[in-house]
Symmetry: C2
Subunit: 417 residues, 2 copies
């Protein structure tokens, strides 16, 4: 569309329609040829410029998917802060937008194509996690922990916060020397190695990303922990043998809601009679699929469940939920740290994968920051246990009192006194 073309009536109308459908957010919406809509009562936090008419039409059909693709390939540009703009959009976007017939149809088709069968999961995981460890090294912490960190204070660094998270998880499940841990979905192995090194446990850690497993085995060797930590390239559905603690950090998003029963069954069949465990995952306030764009370009087959949905993992097996913590502000903070590092390595990433990839991943990271700020995304840590578990602390104070952290002899609840 040459700049000299004056905006037509229909273009103006389409722009208005898109703005209205987005819930009249505090952003300025503009067609390259000059047509524009501005917020009436609020100041615009950013200006979104649409470069051609085709994009305008497609935005009406599936706004989130088209916004993502058009932002990635430059058909949409943005003046102002991306995170703030997305946050404003998430807050204003009416829920009904996810329920359009076209979006629902695409979403259903995607559910099928990206289904998390044994083979499908391998394919889905491969697409994201096998990209290239050097790429993730550019913007994750040196231990390559690719899940929500835990900032003891808002001023903590990413490195400190990831180390604090690993330890927080261990203390939440009350690991004791000599115990057997199963980790389902172990990423690059940081948690499994932390457990073995600092808590004297043995760990069998499962993952279907070959890149990650190879890297994790290398690190275990370097740290002299190969005897204590076994990294298995296998699906969580193939876990066998007994464990005292079952831990999974950031895998549930890739399980798919139709498989929560299967995950629960695996936990039930592997967890000792007095065992306990922890699940850490991105969740929602209520059931809602990921945007079709996120599933198409970033996380194939992913789903962030509401707590009510996750209970299918526990309820059929009489597992007690002991503690649920929502760490939403910590994931917003973690993602801000990742995004800042990502921006610093922008040129290198573009050399690796091209400009479109860089823009797509920037959008994914910025969108996640905005989602955790706006509350469309949550981060849950659930501690659970068998009813016969003896290692239930009397209160949660041991997680926070420094003396007790250094002296892990906490008071246990003796369920069977």
């Amino acid at each position: 569309m040459p700049a000299q073309n004056k905006p037509s009536r229909i273009e103006k109308w389409l722009l208005q329609e898109i703005y209205r459908a987005a819930g009249q957010p505090a952003v300025q919406l503009r067609l390259r040829n000059g047509a524009e809509v501005s917020p009436r009562s609020a100041l615009a936090v950013a200006k979104i410029v649409i470069q051609d008419r085709k994009t305008l039409l497609r935005l009406l059909l599936d706004p989130e998917a088209e916004f993502g693709d058009a932002y990635s390939d430059g058909r949409i540009t943005l003046e102002g802060d991306l995170v703030s703009a997305l946050e404003v959009l998430y807050r204003s976007l009416p829920e009904a937008e996810h329920q359009r017939w076209y979006v629902k149809l695409v979403s259903k088709c995607m559910d099928y194509v990206q289904r998390n069968s044994l083979r499908g999961s391998r394919r889905n995981i491969h697409r994201h996690y096998d990209l290239n460890t050097d790429f993730y090294r550019l913007w994750l912490d040196p231990q390559l922990v690719y899940t929500c960190a835990y900032y003891l204070s808002p001023g903590a660094t990413l490195e400190e916060a990831q180390a604090a998270k690993l330890d927080y998880v261990c203390r939440k499940v009350q690991l004791q020397p000599g115990e057997r841990v199963v980790e389902a979905g172990c990423g690059w192995g940081a948690l499994a190695l932390h457990m073995a090194k600092n808590y004297g446990v043995t760990v069998r850690a499962f993952n279907i990303s070959r890149e990650q497993i190879l890297f994790a085995r290398g690190r275990a060797k370097e740290l002299g922990l190969s005897q204590r930590v076994e990294f298995l390239e296998d699906d969580y559905r193939n876990i066998s043998g007994e464990c005292d603690a079952f831990v999974s950090v950031g895998m549930l998003e890739h399980v798919g809601r139709e498989h929560y029963g299967a995950l629960g069954s695996i936990i039930d069949s592997s967890l000792a009679k007095t065992g306990r465990g922890l699940l850490h995952f991105i969740g929602r306030n209520h059931p809602l699929p990921f945007s079709t764009w996120t599933r198409k370009r970033i996380f194939p087959g992913a789903y962030a469940p509401a707590l009510g949905e996750v209970m299918q993992v526990f309820e059929p097996w009489d597992l007690s939920v002991l503690d649920v913590e929502n760490l939403r502000p910590h994931y917003a903070r973690t993602l801000e740290d990742w995004l800042a590092r990502f921006e610093k390595s922008e040129q290198e990433i573009s050399r690796m994968f091209g400009l479109e990839f860089t823009r797509a991943w920037r959008l994914y990271l910025a969108g996640a920051v905005a989602g955790f700020h706006a509350g469309t995304l949550q981060l849950f840590q659930i501690v659970f246990a068998r009813t016969a578990c003896q290692q239930i602390p009397w209160t949660r104070a041991h997680l926070y009192t420094k003396e007790q952290q250094e002296n892990p002899e906490t008071k246990w609840m003796h369920a069977t006194s």
Copy 2:
């Protein structure tokens, strides 16, 4: 049945059947005329003596209801510790026992007869809570807090633990001076008064037990808090007006699972845009009705939900669950304290309501101790908030660090930075 009658074959068979159906618990089961069954491998923790054949037959049909009634009127007696016997029974009783056609039918009928309509709830609540304040004074703490206490250490007294619980609830919802609180189901008013006195808030507290409301108003007057705490004799479904915090401790058990949507809707319509709240209730690991005996004799219309069911309160209204804590060991401990005081006042209680009442209530209290020990009952505290709530602490440390308790200036999460 005179003692000289020898046990018949059919009596012996019936006794075996009951024992088998109960999952062969570590108790001795005995008919008064001498027939008996003993555990094969374990030592019996108690001896249960059935006084007549009619009771034996009825036990086969609806074991829990008949055990309760027969224990109450003396047709079943018990030698040994009642709590231990019930704990052993709860652990051995196969879940299938609750699913017998006869029990299910009785349960369904009860659901209807004891339904929690506006009128039905008044009737149900009246039967338990309007009994007589002097009766509850005999075995509760002086503040008459009739919900799970919070024992900072296992050696704390009931008085200390109830005071700690009241304060723990206030700190969990981060009350600020001048805020408006709604309490749904306020018992004898201890929490509402604690909030107004120690946190400078105003409270509107709802309850449909007239006895409790009258008592609570009296206490507010004594404490000079009548201007800050309003006790309303009304149903939670009639709550109107806006509040900054919505708190309900021990009411959800009386709401009934078909009304969780209604409760959520009331929370949604009364909670300010940045509000938050707390729900405290007896729950389960998975959906299961209360025994028909408990509903017939102790808590008409009551239901303890699984977490998955409770999510109906939050999910339709986009409320974020921030924190779930399972205080199961604390309720076992609370009930032990209540039961010990109850036993001390046994004669006075029997003079008030008769021996059958005393035995029924002893069974209810002992059964609850056993249920929380065995894990058939759980106690959940859920903190929730609007997504726009600003008062989300950065970590939960402020609940446990003494300095921070004395200086409530905790670090807030600023959702909208």
